[in-house]
């Protein structure tokens, strides 16, 4: 495969990736379908912002957000069924059940662990050590600006954590299982080793003092933007949207079987971070996964970082020991 040069890199040499916006798929169907799947994403973002901006205080609470999120997920599942991006990503019962397990693990066990060692706890400890009151001027900013700041600050952290995961072996071992997914569906964001899910959830937004409503607005932005990065729905995403925000197009490139393509599009919500730091590759891909598309089951996902970490350590130690015992160059043919 020839691949396409993007900056200094060749994208799509190992597996097919469509680079650029010219040749990506389009919504097929009548004018109503075209209209719905062109404006769905922006319309939902504005609706969510309006709702959280004007909802009375008794309604603007976390439990409302949870209820909306549940209904939202069901709606997105229906969209996946009605207008899939690729038939080869069609959600099956087994895939849905598998994804639900990871979602459930995040909601229960990981949530409990987070309460002790998560970012909230760390920030409280740091705040206790210094006088952070100076950040309280943030609450005087316009609500939407606060919300965008929360979302961008959190995503900035996610960007660098994610980029580090792709560049430092110990962190990569925690993130690798997530790259074994062979198709994108709305709950696939939850699939991965719990250590990775914990690390990627860490944020520094809690350091700043924002109004609760601004947090809910930021959550709404996340829910109506970053949720699409793992969705099997064909949209005619507006140009301005895909310039600012991360999309399933970008994220499918990130999950491609092509190695160079995976080292791009690290942000969760604001692809603009990738544009700023030079890691954005516009385009899309259908063939996803690692090792030629081997599916990783739940058991292996849980032990992968430990098993591979142990193997890597053993190999590194063996090399070092071998090197000290044998000062001569290694033999050409390895012994069986």
């Amino acid at each position: 495969m020839a691949g396409v040069q993007v900056g200094k890199r060749i994208i799509g040499a190992d597996a097919p990736v469509i680079v650029g916006w010219d040749n990506i798929g389009k919504v097929e169907g009548g004018p109503v379908k075209q209209f719905v799947f062109t404006y769905f994403q922006p319309a939902m973002l504005f609706a969510a912002i309006l709702f959280w901006y004007y909802a009375p205080n008794w309604l603007a609470v976390a439990s409302t957000a949870i209820a909306i999120r549940l209904g939202w997920m069901i709606l997105l599942l229906v969209l996946e069924w009605v207008n899939p991006r690729y038939e080869s990503w069609q959600l099956t019962w087994k895939e849905f059940a598998t994804d639900a397990f990871y979602v459930g693990l995040g909601m229960t066990f990981l949530g409990m662990v987070d309460a002790y060692i998560g970012d909230g706890v760390m920030i409280k400890a740091v705040q206790g050590a210094f006088d952070w009151d100076k950040f309280s001027w943030f609450t005087g900013l316009p609500l939407l600006l606060q919300a965008v700041l929360i979302s961008m600050i959190f995503d900035f952290g996610q960007y660098w954590m994610h980029r580090a995961m792709h560049n430092w072996h110990p962190l990569w071992l925690t993130h690798a299982p997530h790259h074994y997914i062979t198709q994108l569906n709305i709950n696939k964001g939850a699939v991965g080793n719990p250590i990775e899910l914990f690390l990627i959830g860490l944020g520094i937004g809690g350091l700043f003092d924002f109004l609760p409503r601004a947090f809910l607005l930021a959550g709404a932005i996340g829910m109506t933007v970053s949720v699409y990065q793992h969705i099997n729905v064909r949209f005619n995403t507006p140009r301005w949207w895909r310039f600012i925000f991360n999309t399933v197009e970008h994220h499918s490139v990130h999950h491609s079987q092509d190695y160079e393509a995976t080292r791009s599009n690290y942000s969760g919500t604001w692809i603009i971070w990738d544009r700023i730091f030079g890691t954005c590759v516009d385009g899309e891909a259908e063939v996803l996964g690692m090792e030629g598309g081997r599916r990783m089951h739940i058991g292996e996902t849980m032990i992968f970082p430990f098993r591979e970490g142990w193997r890597s350590t053993k190999a590194a130690l063996g090399k070092r020991r071998g090197a000290s015992q044998q000062p001569h160059p290694a033999q050409l043919e390895p012994a069986e």
Binding site: Y54, A60, K94, A100, T108, M112, S136, T182, R295, H297
Partner: protein
């Protein structure tokens, strides 16, 4: 091991009618494209076909049933293909509610354990100083966003602290998995029947 009733949880048995004129070899040849996917071993002996899948791909049509036995039998003047399939996925989904109920119980237990010790010290801390009342930016006041609540007023009618963890998510996920199991136990055999019927009806394309 024979477990005639309980194994309905993870085993699916049934049959689909086939053309009696169809020889077993030809019937199995028609099923071959459906079953012969990466990671699958197939053994055909006489009128019986046995398969076993190792970690099937997500889009494998038989991914839910990792082992199976298909047998052609003559019944009266006709013939049927009897299948007996085994599913790890169904078994695990059946057991998953137990795991999530376990997490819910863990939350309750930790709350009880933490509640017994830390009550006094927490309350003393909260009462210290009144929190500053926050005001909206003039832009938001103009646009009519509701003003933030006074954090000092709220404390009074707050109900008793229920602990750090909530068991509700665990209960919710247990219910979700009970539902996923029931849907799967009905849907997956239905799909298997439909796929077997469709495969048997069409002779494989000449290659």
């Amino acid at each position: 091991m024979r477990l005639p009733l309980i194994d309905h949880i993870w085993r699916v048995r049934g049959d689909v009618p086939i053309d009696p004129a169809l020889a077993p070899e030809e019937a199995f040849a028609r099923l071959d494209p459906l079953l012969r996917t990466p990671g699958t071993t197939l053994v055909a002996e006489g009128n019986t076909l046995t398969y076993s899948k190792h970690n099937p791909a997500a889009q494998d049509k038989f991914a839910t049933f990792t082992r199976g036995n298909l047998r052609i039998e003559r019944v009266g003047g006709g013939a049927v293909l009897r299948f007996d399939l085994f599913s790890h996925a169904l078994l695990l989904c059946f057991l998953a509610p137990l795991l999530f109920l376990g997490f819910a119980q863990m939350a309750v237990a930790i709350n009880a354990w933490e509640g017994s010790g830390a009550e006094v010290s927490d309350k003393a801390k909260d009462k210290d100083k009144p929190k500053p009342v926050k005001v909206l930016n003039p832009v938001d006041q103009f646009l009519g966003a509701p003003a933030p609540e006074d954090p000092n007023k709220k404390k009074k009618d707050e109900k008793k602290d229920e602990g750090r963890h909530s068991p509700d998510e665990g209960y919710f996920m247990a219910a979700v998995f009970a539902l996923i199991y029931l849907v799967g136990r009905w849907l997956e055999p239905w799909l298997v029947r439909r796929r077997l019927r469709a495969a048997l009806a069409n002779p494989p394309a000449a290659t």
